[in-house]
């Protein structure tokens, strides 16, 4: 229980502290320190859960089971590494005058508050609070996307706010409908919104209401996952905000939104006892993969390209969870973990690369491996990993997903293969000249953050080669909870 309180309390405290002191030079270290403390607390929580099983505390308002504790640990870890990465990155930005002291304070406090809202969304048992936390996460980052005050970033932030706001309003309506169905069974009072209660009575929930509620919640939270056709905000927000924000958006926010969808899916499957929810997710997922792959090939900005890659991978994950069954769910979870790690690593390297070259346009970034071998190789390895090359983790999960798809939805496999192929060709073709090639840029003033990149990529590699037994049990338990 203390671990839980610490996991939530530390980032909240960090947000408040950094709101006051975020402009100091040491604030970057302080930020990393708070994130490290959060990570330690979440690690302690994870160990506790794996040892003793799920806990339900604080008046049943917080529920921790293997599914969300895995994501909690992942979130805290990626946040910590992003904080480490932002040290040199933000120093360069500050030296170039793009980050004023006021903006630094905003950045730091919002970074911590964002971690807080993500963790709150993961740990809460109350579907209403889940909604509030998701909306708060958008609010925490919207000012960060526009922090550079260029016309493009303002547009990106406005789109982000409005589209996500509209989307999440639909999720609220879905939650209201869910509560409506719950009230009939559980009576009024707060109990109707607690996931654990709902999970116990899910067979008794009214099917028509639940199916409509799921549609609204899928559309609503799906906007935040980046499912096509609700994805319009995603490429802009990733491309225009500072790179640490792109990393956490891709690595964390999308995951938590998908987690929210999963929780709803479990309830809906119980109430409807048919494949309605799964089929919807399969449809949206497939659409996202195909559309993202084709848009990807037309991008000129490196961060936009990787943003579309995120959409593609989230689509793949949605597809996997939609299919259901133990293998697909396992693959989905594996993919979530690996994608989170590798995509954030890619954004770290891309951030440094863009800083060096002074631009995000891919045609103008060249010869990274000559200027700074670690950044260059980091990007190369990260790209290979994200494209699904063996022996990285993404390959394993994509393989499992494709084989399951061939069994359950054979007609989707050609689409998936073509989409993955197109994405592979496009991304590889763009990254290769970026990494190799002639260039004349000079190194940066502050040495880039190497460790986070290679830690992430290394973990991605490990997931592909060998999943440690405790991680395996962890995944198995989570899969069982998804109802696979």
């Amino acid at each position: 229980m203390t671990a839980l309180l610490l996991t939530l309390g530390v980032p909240l405290l960090g947000g408040l502290v950094l709101a006051l002191f975020g402009h100091r030079d040491r604030a970057l270290e302080l930020n990393a320190g708070f994130s490290f403390a959060t990570f330690l607390a979440s690690a302690a929580l994870t160990i506790q859960i794996i040892a003793t099983g799920p806990i339900l505390v604080l008046g049943k308002q917080f529920f921790v089971d293997p599914l969300n504790v895995l994501l909690v640990a992942l979130t805290a870890f990626v946040a910590f590494n992003t904080a480490l990465f932002s040290r040199p990155y933000m120093r360069v930005e500050r030296d170039r005058g793009k980050m004023t002291p006021g903006r630094m304070r905003l950045y730091h406090s919002m970074f911590q508050l964002f971690s807080f809202t993500m963790l709150l969304a993961l740990l809460t048992n109350n579907m209403g609070i889940l909604w509030v936390a998701m909306e708060a996460a958008t609010l925490a980052t919207v000012l960060l996307v526009s922090v550079y005050r260029t016309p493009a970033s303002l547009e990106a932030a406005w789109k982000y706010f409005i589209l996500c706001g509209v989307g999440i309003a639909q999720a609220l309506f879905g939650t209201i409908l869910l509560y409506l169905a719950a009230e009939r069974v559980l009576g009024s009072g707060g109990g109707g919104l607690l996931w654990t209660n709902l999970e116990q009575v899910k067979q008794q929930l009214e099917p028509t209401v639940l199916s409509l509620a799921f549609v609204f919640m899928l559309v609503g939270y799906g906007t935040k996952v980046g499912l096509v056709p609700l994805h319009n905000w995603l490429p802009d927000a990733h491309a225009e905000g500072p790179t640490p924000i792109s990393a956490v958006l891709s690595g964390l926010l999308l995951n938590v939104a998908l987690y929210a969808v999963l929780r709803c899916k479990v309830l809906t499957d119980g109430a409807l006892a048919n494949r309605f929810a799964g089929d919807l997710m399969v449809g949206f997922g497939l659409l996202s993969v195909v559309v993202a792959a084709f848009f990807l090939s037309r991008q000129k900005d490196v961060k936009r390209m990787f943003a579309y890659s995120s959409i593609e991978h989230m689509g793949l994950m949605t597809f996997a969870f939609g299919m259901g069954g133990p293998i697909a769910s396992f693959a989905g979870l594996l993919h979530m973990t690996a994608h989170s790690l590798i995509k954030s690593a890619i954004f770290f390297t891309v951030g440094h690369a863009a800083q060096k070259a002074g631009t995000q346009v891919m045609d103008e970034i060249r010869g990274l491996v000559r200027v700074n071998p670690t950044v260059g190789w980091g990007l190369m390895l990260g790209t290979m990993a994200i494209l699904g090359m063996p022996p990285f983790g993404i390959f394993a999960s994509e393989f499992l997903i494709l084989t399951t798809a061939m069994r359950e939805f054979p007609w989707t496999t050609p689409f998936l293969l073509i989409a993955l192929g197109v994405a592979f060709a496009a991304v590889f073709g763009r990254v290769l000249p970026m990494v190799f090639g002639e260039t004349s840029v000079r190194p940066l003033a502050h040495p880039p953050a190497i460790i986070p990149v290679f830690v992430h990529v290394g973990l991605g590699l490990m997931l592909g080669l060998y999943i440690p037994p405790y991680l395996n049990t962890w995944y198995q338990q989570a899969v069982r909870l998804i109802g696979g």
Partner: protein, 219 residues
């Protein structure tokens, strides 16, 4: 459950729908803010009547919260924003107004048909108003889509929240207090952020026309 209470709730529901339509057809921004305030007041009244009729004290708190937020605080913020931005618009919407209203009618019919089977399942006394709540939500969506300026889009967003809150009180016995507080906090913070935002937009573009914000297209 006296019939007077249910008639009053029906009346307020009809009033909400009327105000949603009026906002859709309004041109001037100040009248939009006034209409939004009226909508908030109607919502407060309806929630209070519900609280009285169903004997649920936490609905009184909900009504008080809505009063402070939607009738007093947010309109005041909007007025200040309009004053400081020196906004005097005669907004030309994307579609002309009669077409907008015809599409609005179609949306209302759609909302009513969608909500009909669900209202039959609700245990609340105001269940027939779920269709109206959904209609208000859809009309606010429409308002956000057809307006090309920042403040009407924001007001559409806030009206959307009004519709959702009304749906919550009409479909269920009101959401738990903690959730309501969370939603209220989100709305308030959202408003503040939007205010800051609009200054940034104005600083950059010297206008609050959203069509300036359409450069990031797919090429």
């Amino acid at each position: 459950m006296s019939t007077l209470a249910s008639q009053l709730i029906n009346l307020f529901a009809a009033l909400l729908l009327l105000l949603a339509f009026a906002m859709l057809s309004q041109r001037r921004v100040l009248s939009l803010v006034h209409l939004f305030t009226l909508q908030g007041a109607a919502l407060v009244a309806s929630t209070s009547v519900m609280a009285y009729a169903t004997d649920q004290p936490h609905l009184y708190f909900s009504a008080a919260l809505t009063l402070v937020l939607k009738v007093l605080l947010l309109p005041w913020l909007l007025h200040r924003l309009i004053q400081r931005l020196a906004v005097r618009w005669d907004v030309e919407p994307l579609l002309n107004i009669p077409t907008t209203m015809l599409v609005g009618i179609v949306l209302v019919i759609f909302a009513f048909t969608l909500a009909a089977p669900i209202s039959a399942l609700s245990a609340s006394v105001a269940r027939s108003t779920l269709g109206i709540a959904l209609a208000c939500v859809l009309l606010s969506f429409m308002m956000m889509i057809t307006r090309a300026k920042a403040i009407p889009q924001v007001i559409g967003f806030l009206a959307l929240e009004n519709g959702l809150l009304f749906a919550a009180t009409s479909a269920t016995y009101g959401m738990p207090m903690v959730v309501e507080l969370g939603i209220a906090l989100d709305v308030l913070v959202g408003m503040v952020i939007l205010g800051v935002f609009m200054f940034q937009i104005r600083e950059q573009f010297d206008s609050l026309d959203i069509s300036h914000l359409e450069k990031l297209k797919e090429d």
